[in-house]
Amino acid sequence: MDIIRTENLEKIYQDNGVPVHALHAVSMNVQKGEFTVIAGPSGSGKTTLLNLVGALHVPTTGKVYFEGEDVGTKSKRQLASLRLHKMGFVFQAYNLIPVLSALENIEFTMMLLQISERERKERAFALMEELGIAELAGKRPNKMSGGQQQRVAVARAIVTNPSLVLADEPTANLDSATGGALLDLMEQMNREKNITFVFSSHDPQVIQRGRRLVLLRDGRIERESHAGS
């Protein structure tokens, strides 16, 4: 079953009045439970594609379908609700809320879902234990390493049991060992919880782990491949 399908996505930005064609007629699909990497050199359009898939951007032309529904027909409020209920985000710069502890950061998206405080705490702590980061519960982001922050960010992304997690260059700020451990964690979540992961990355370590690879160049899909193919 397709969790994401795009049809002829075009995205044109205005850069100081100059139109920049970021994506050209990109059509692709991602199936539930896949571990997909959108790869390509800088400026190839991978982050743009990830943002369009994550309903953060509106395509110039073309359509994005999420679980069969046309994302383009939804209001801003409905898109926010879609992201909250169905998606998780992992950013390159972790982007944890600096004034909240690790536990509270993980609780935060559940708070937006109006889950009771008791349940939030239970679920967040259980997940932290599962991910081996329980000792970070009371720490604020500025007291954590990059790898620890990114693990907390992953926990925040998956704690609401989303259908899809979008990770934009998640290992870019980490050393290879820490990045590897993070990818192990994400693979584990993909395997055990059947969460679909879509990465944008040019990190060879991430590309290697992807069971499906979408290679972009100059805003077009240059090649698609599956692990082992």
């Binding site: 953060l56 926010a80 879609l82 992201r83 985000f89 982007n95 004034v99 909240l100 509270e104 935060f108």
Partner: protein, 405 residues
């Protein structure tokens, strides 16, 4: 609860900035409570001085006397009035008075005065005139004694023990006069009152004006100021239409209006202080929003709806305002409490204050509802001030905000 915790922690991200704005709120609320307390204290003093010096709680006259204070409008028989008053359990004290406009002359000068004939013991129960005597003594009940103010004595060039002559129109249309010896000099809180009022024994005044047993008015003090309305209603039922029963509200309408206006003027004062503060708060909240554009982008990306974002920003402003208002309100109460017992000495302005009937020492009066209202106004202003920054945050597109560094 989590949103509250987040908002609370957010306001302390930049401690210095938050402390500056909280300090300005504290200063504003303290200033508001202080000025309000002082204003209430000043007006209360004016009011109490007026009641205590002369007006009392109620006055009963022959109908028409209040508008035309001539001897022809005196009460012919005070019997029904005193009977009605004595039967009312809410009445504490009463005093019969004879009042006439006339002239008081000394050996060197004359002045227009209001001659007040009183029974010294009864009058001492309802006014503070006996306590206001600074030199000499109060009336003893002996005939031909007179108490005048120090100010009037200076005008007349007279002093204690000197003889003065009072003259006024009599009931039969002639001029009556009487010689008095000054036994006491008083000073009340009002210079205007002092210049006009002289006190002589009731019987002397009646003889001088040739009015027999007639009196001008009966002044009444109630057991409680709250029962004045009930006493008035009872008297109006018991007495016929030839009498007029006037409460302090009827007798001091301009002062009461002034007090009401002062209360309303406080709102203008609140508004001015609020306006002065609102720009500081807008600036603080805008800076706080602009510093967090990237963070708001992330929050929106993960699904935070605008409503919650607005609530968070307004909550931050509310908390900032609450801290300031609570400290300011507490400070205002403490200052007013301290000053309400020690008073503030405005000796340098005593002449001006005496013109308004207030003493040189003003005792601020705390009004907890007013302080609470002032605090609520400040909170409202804080929330209003955060509306625009919240609007700016709402307008952010998550993708652009995330890219913002």
């Amino acid at each position: 609860m989590m949103l509250l915790r987040l908002a609370w922690r957010n306001i302390w991200r930049n401690k210095r900035r938050s402390l500056i704005i909280i300090t300005s709120i504290v200063v504003g609320v303290v200033a508001m409570s202080f000025v309000e307390g002082l204003s209430r204290g000043f007006l209360k003093q004016m009011f109490e001085n007026q009641l205590g010096a002369y007006t009392s709680h109620l006055q009963i006259h022959h109908r028409g006397f209040n508008d035309n204070k001539i001897v022809q409008n005196f009460i012919a028989g005070s019997g029904p009035v005193t009977t009605a008053l004595e039967q009312n359990p809410n009445v504490r004290y009463l005093s019969k008075r004879v009042i006439a406009f006339g002239i008081l002359s000394s050996a060197s000068n004359s002045a227009g005065v209001s001659i007040v004939g009183i029974s010294p013991t009864d009058e001492a129960n309802i006014t503070t005139i006996d306590e206001s005597v600074l030199e000499g003594r109060y009336l003893s009940g002996q005939k031909h004694e007179i108490v005048i103010s120090k100010r009037l004595a200076e005008t007349l060039g007279a002093g204690l023990g000197d003889r003065v002559v009072a003259m006024a129109s009599t009931l039969d249309g002639k001029v009556g006069s009487e010689v008095f010896r000054i036994v006491g000099l008083y000073q009340s809180a009002s210079s205007a009152f002092d210049r006009m009022h002289i006190y002589v024994p009731l019987q002397n005044a009646q003889e001088m004006l040739r009015v027999g047993e007639r009196i001008a008015e009966v002044a009444v003090v109630a057991r409680s100021i709250d029962s004045v309305g009930a006493i008035k209603a009872d008297l109006m039922k018991r007495l016929d239409a030839s009498y007029e029963v006037l409460s302090y509200q009827d007798l001091l309408p301009s002062l009461l209006m002034q007090m009401e206006m002062a209360g309303q003027l406080m709102w203008v004062f609140y508004l001015i202080i609020g306006l002065a503060m609102i720009f500081g708060i807008i600036n603080t909240m805008l800076m706080s929003v602009f510093e967090r554009i990237h963070e708001f982008g992330v929050l929106k990306a993960v699904g935070m709806k605008n409503g919650i974002l607005v609530r968070m920003i307004l909550l931050e402003a509310f908390l900032l305002g609450s801290v300031g208002a609570l400290i300011g309100g507490g400070g205002g109460i403490l200052i007013n409490l301290q000053l309400s017992s020690s008073g503030i000495n405005f000796a340098a302005f005593s002449e001006g204050l005496a013109t308004y009937g207030a003493g040189a020492v003003i005792y601020p009066v705390i009004s907890y509802p007013s302080i609470a209202t002032g605090m609520a106004v400040i909170l409202l202003i804080c929330i209003l001030a955060a509306m625009y920054p919240a609007y700016r945050a709402v307008r952010l597109e998550p993708i652009n905000a995330i890219r913002y560094v």
